[in-house]
């Protein structure tokens, strides 16, 4: 039986761990450790290897959810985790200092993976920081897509990673983007 995995990535404190907790059917596995670097100014612990969750499907199949660590020094993990993934959920923390720069960074890092699969972007903490707004994200993504030869239009949603329905909508949009023919078969 072939299972599939979806990768959830993004900078520190974007809500990756929270999103997996929100949608996973099983007790989520985390490798959080006390933050000892600059991260501790934003949160007390941080993911150092990966987060893991599962969505169980009818017939015993599973969708595995892998959350990457946010810090750049763990980027060697990103390629390992992304291998065999069917799509990427990129969460951006809008209360960070330079969220658009984070977008640039992660799109560039995952460029090859996105080109082969698909991408949705969730912007978290827009309620804490209204700028940049979604318009600016769309504009910046369009520039990046042109630069990296990616699909010009991807779903970009305001996201509260604590809300199951927000995370579910990100995944639903990812699936319909990956295969538009699903529309013909899904009621």
């Amino acid at each position: 039986m072939i299972d599939h995995k979806i990768i959830i990535t993004g900078p520190v404190a974007a809500g990756k761990t929270t999103a997996i907790k929100a949608i996973s059917d099983v007790m989520h596995v985390s490798t959080d450790e006390s933050a000892s670097d600059m991260t501790n100014s934003t949160k007390s612990s941080t993911t150092v290897a990966m987060d893991y969750g599962v969505i169980k499907l009818e017939g015993g199949q599973k969708i595995h959810l892998y959350g990457t660590p946010g810090q750049e020094r763990f980027d060697f993990m990103w390629d390992i985790l992304a291998r065999g993934g069917i799509g990427l959920v990129l969460l951006i923390n809008n209360s960070a200092k330079q969220p658009l720069a984070d977008l640039d960074f992660f799109i560039a890092k995952f460029r090859d993976f996105i080109a082969k699969t698909g991408l949705v972007i969730g912007v978290s903490k827009l309620d804490q920081n209204a700028e940049p707004n979604l318009d600016q994200y769309h504009e910046r993504y369009a520039e990046l897509a042109k630069k990296h030869g990616l699909s010009p239009v991807v779903p970009i949603f305001e996201t509260d990673a604590r809300l199951k329905e927000d995370v579910a909508m990100l995944l639903e949009a990812l699936l319909f983007s990956l295969d538009t023919e699903l529309s013909k078969q899904h009621v």
Partner: protein, 423 residues
């Protein structure tokens, strides 16, 4: 019904009329037609207790109700009222604001219709819409009464305070649940009248091109168009613009993409879905400082507000400005975690974002209900998320091995992601 004595007043039942529309009608039947027509409230338990059923078809529920009434109870006499001219099937329709003489004429025609056979709908509708001078005066009186009623209705209800700290989407969702509960209560009360489907299904009009072509409207006549005009003005003048419609008002700031208002969810829905006379609308520029001084309770995203208003204005109808064969492309996805989410929105967005496609193909090839395709187009076009595309197209679709598992995942996600609303 047919053996009713002629000297007995005919019983009239009114269905799906907003308070704003129903009050003048009730007043009219209670004071001006004594001995000829009288209102009945018993029709909820037995449809046949009313001789004539007046149905307001300017809401989805109203038009569904009229359709089912005509289909399942053809012996009943139905008179539709609407801002438009057409009514389902052979029903007679008169235009709103309802004019006294037009209403009396229409009631006589409906009364006689059974003996004479079907009424020539278009002819009578056209006669009814050609108002004489006294009728025009009547219309003006009706219009001002409607406004007074609207104001009374707003004031008389206990003001529901929305805390500005509560996210607008949450407030809207709460109001929506409340609205749905009220609707359900009404249905329960009219158990015998439960003719319309409890879950209003998408209307399958995609196999009838004639019907599709008729299902059109102009955004300028609706709140959707007024908001867009206000946005343009706010952008041009570099300051917020206050919009007043009847007794409701809101302020728009194009730069901040924000709107401030205190309009209740169902009131907004009602205003959005009905045509608005230009004369009832006032736009005025406000200085930035003045916005804070206005007693608004809700601050929300202008895009979410405009999306909602446009979807309600459309109600499955297509905007006048697009051909069914025009290739279109989505230039950005709507913010589906926050905007009013209606069935099939994510599918429609995904297909339109993936390649240039026309509305007809979306409906026919992807088996998407025209009702929602047109509503999506209306809302997305209103926000500038859709462009026309005249370049070359590629229709290559690759078979996905994962499709089976994707479908299963969608089924698992659906209860969470799809708290969508019938529009």
């Amino acid at each position: 019904m047919s053996d009713k004595k002629i000297d007995k007043p005919l019983a009239i039942a009114i269905h799906h009329c907003s308070d704003r529309q129903a009050k003048p009608l009730r007043y009219f039947f209670q004071s001006r037609t004594i001995g000829q027509y009288e209102l009945t409230s018993n029709a909820d338990s037995d449809l046949h207790k009313a001789d004539i059923h007046i149905v307001d078809i300017d809401s989805r529920e109203g038009i569904d109700y009229a359709e089912e009434l005509l289909e399942t109870q053809p012996e009943l006499k139905v008179l539709c009222i609407s801002f438009e001219k057409s009514a389902p099937g052979q029903a007679l329709c008169i235009k709103k604001p309802v004019q006294k003489d037009a209403l009396l004429r229409a009631l006589s025609k409906v009364q006689l219709a059974k003996a004479r056979g079907p009424v020539d709908v278009q002819k009578v509708a056209s006669q009814s819409s050609q108002a004489s001078e006294p009728e025009k005066k009547d219309t003006e009186e009706n219009t001002s009464r409607f406004h007074a009623d609207l104001q009374e209705s707003v004031v008389s209800k206990k003001t529901e305070v929305y805390k500005s700290s509560v996210p607008a989407a949450v407030s809207a969702e709460k109001s929506q649940s409340k609205f749905q509960k009220v609707g359900e209560a009404k249905n329960t009360a009219g158990a015998a009248l439960r003719l319309r489907k409890s879950q209003s299904l998408p209307r399958q009009v995609n196999d009838d091109l004639g019907e599709l072509e008729q299902a059109r409207y102009q955004s300028e006549n609706y709140l959707q168009g007024i908001i867009n005009t206000a946005i343009d003005r706010s952008r041009d003048e570099g300051q917020p613009v206050k919009v007043t419609i009847a007794k409701e008002s809101f302020t728009i700031c194009a730069v901040k993409r924000k709107i401030w208002h205190k309009i209740k969810y169902n009131t907004l829905r009602s205003i959005s879905s009905s045509p608005i006379l230009e004369t009832n609308t006032e736009l005025s520029a406000l200085g930035q400082a003045n916005v804070a001084g206005v007693d608004y309770l809700i601050e929300e995203s202008l895009d979410d507000f405009l999306w909602r208003s446009s979807a309600w204005a459309s109600r499955g109808r297509l905007l006048d400005d697009v051909s069914l064969n025009q290739n279109l492309r989505l230039t950005r996805w709507p913010n589906l975690t926050r905007v009013l989410l209606f069935p099939h929105a994510s599918k429609i967005a995904a297909v339109l974002a993936s390649r240039p496609i026309n509305l007809l193909e979306l409906i026919q090839d992807y088996k998407l209900p025209a009702y929602y395709v047109f509503s999506f187009y209306s809302a997305a076009a209103s926000l500038g998320y859709i462009t026309r595309y005249d370049g070359p197209r590629s229709n290559v679709e690759t078979a996905k091995e994962e499709r089976g598992i994707f479908l299963k995942l969608l089924d698992r996600l659906r209860p969470q992601s799809y708290k969508s609303e019938q529009i």
